[in-house]
Symmetry: C2
Subunit: 193 residues, 2 copies
DNA sequence: AGACGGTTAGACATTGATTGTCCATCTGTC
DNA sequence: GACAGATGGACAATCAATGTCTAACCGTCT
């Protein structure tokens, strides 16, 4: 990692809590520069706009999240617990940091407006990874999809769709972890032979 | 309390957490109107400016605080515990609500800029009330000021000054309650015969 | 029904803040 | 001394917020 990347990382580290505190719109480049301990001019040396800075932060968070997800799926335990770990990792990296923010909804919205590509790509990769794990489990007979008339990809897509719905409900006051665990119990039951 | 006052009260109740969350500058009348569940136009029917709204909130908080302070000083216990209760009440009403805000310093600053009169009047009244309590305690022989060469008013003023300093330190990361209690132990020791 | 007070969304000019750019200047390193 | 990077300040352009106003709306009263 070169010096310029290190600086960018430090800026993103400093910017995250500011965005969490005030949301995207109410966060100014002056705020971020102050939090990063540099001048506004120096900030523009690393990121040419507030939008680009946000996109970089989103991209980094998604990349991190996917690394954690891959590690979780490569871990120990049965399919279900590995999927649970993977989803927990995904949420920990991409949702939990904003859970406490009064502007969580605005931030997710901004993310979809500015980083739609990265976000959708990560979601697609997550589906693919879960589908792969399910396919493996199917091959070893650990699960069955007979009663569901569905492919592993279908099931993986449903899991992610449910996660999205639970995320949105959380913005409206629901408990992310609790709802997630309930859904995974449901999943375990549905896929058991 | 007439209908218009009730509305104003509701607005101030709604506005407080918004100010706490975003500070004075980053809070817009639109934010407050939304929090109060009304249109911006209706908000201006009750308060003719953001500054006036803030002043009204400050005035209400100070009035409330002084009522609690008077009640505390009229309560049971020795002078010290009554003073402790009074100061605790003052802090609970006027400082604690902002303790969690990242913009606490800006809010206190804004308060001094917009509501200096009310703030100083409340502080002066607090000094007078404490001085009165000390004078009574002096008359009953519960405390002595001989070694201090000071009047009750002097001592009351020092107490308030210390409270102010402790408040500012709290903004810088200190613990308000802990520091306050330490100071009051110190006071008890210094005034005992 | 009509008059009424209170509310609303929206438009509006004005002011103020933010953005992104630029430059002269400074600082530490080679 | 040359160099790269950082700084504060200035800048025009854009955007947001303030405070004001109006036409329309709604429930209440008569």
């Amino acid at each position: 990692m070169n010096q310029s990347d290190q600086k960018s990382e430090a800026i993103l580290d400093a910017a995250l809590p500011v965005f969490v505190r005030h949301g995207f719109r109410k966060t100014s480049m002056t705020d971020i520069a102050r939090a990063a301990g540099m001048s506004r001019a120096a900030l523009y040396l690393s990121f040419s706009s507030k939008e680009e800075l946000f996109r970089a932060g989103s991209a980094r968070a998604h990349a991190r999240a996917m690394r954690k997800v891959e590690a979780a799926l490569a871990g120990d335990g049965d399919v279900f617990s590995r999927i649970e770990m993977a989803i927990a990792a995904f949420q920990r990296e991409l949702i939990a940091p904003f859970a406490g923010s009064g502007d969580a909804a605005e931030l997710f919205e901004t993310n979809m407006a500015l980083s739609r590509d990265v976000t959708l790509a990560a979601r697609a990769e997550l589906v693919a990874l879960l589908a792969q794990a399910l396919t493996n489990a199917l091959a070893t007979g650990a699960i069955t999809l007979d009663a569901l008339h569905a492919t592993p990809v279908d099931v993986a897509a449903i899991i992610i769709a449910a996660m999205e719905g639970i995320k949105d409900a959380q913005v409206a006051g629901h408990d992310l972890l609790e709802d997630t665990r309930l859904f995974l119990r449901l999943l375990r039951k549905a896929l058991s032979r």
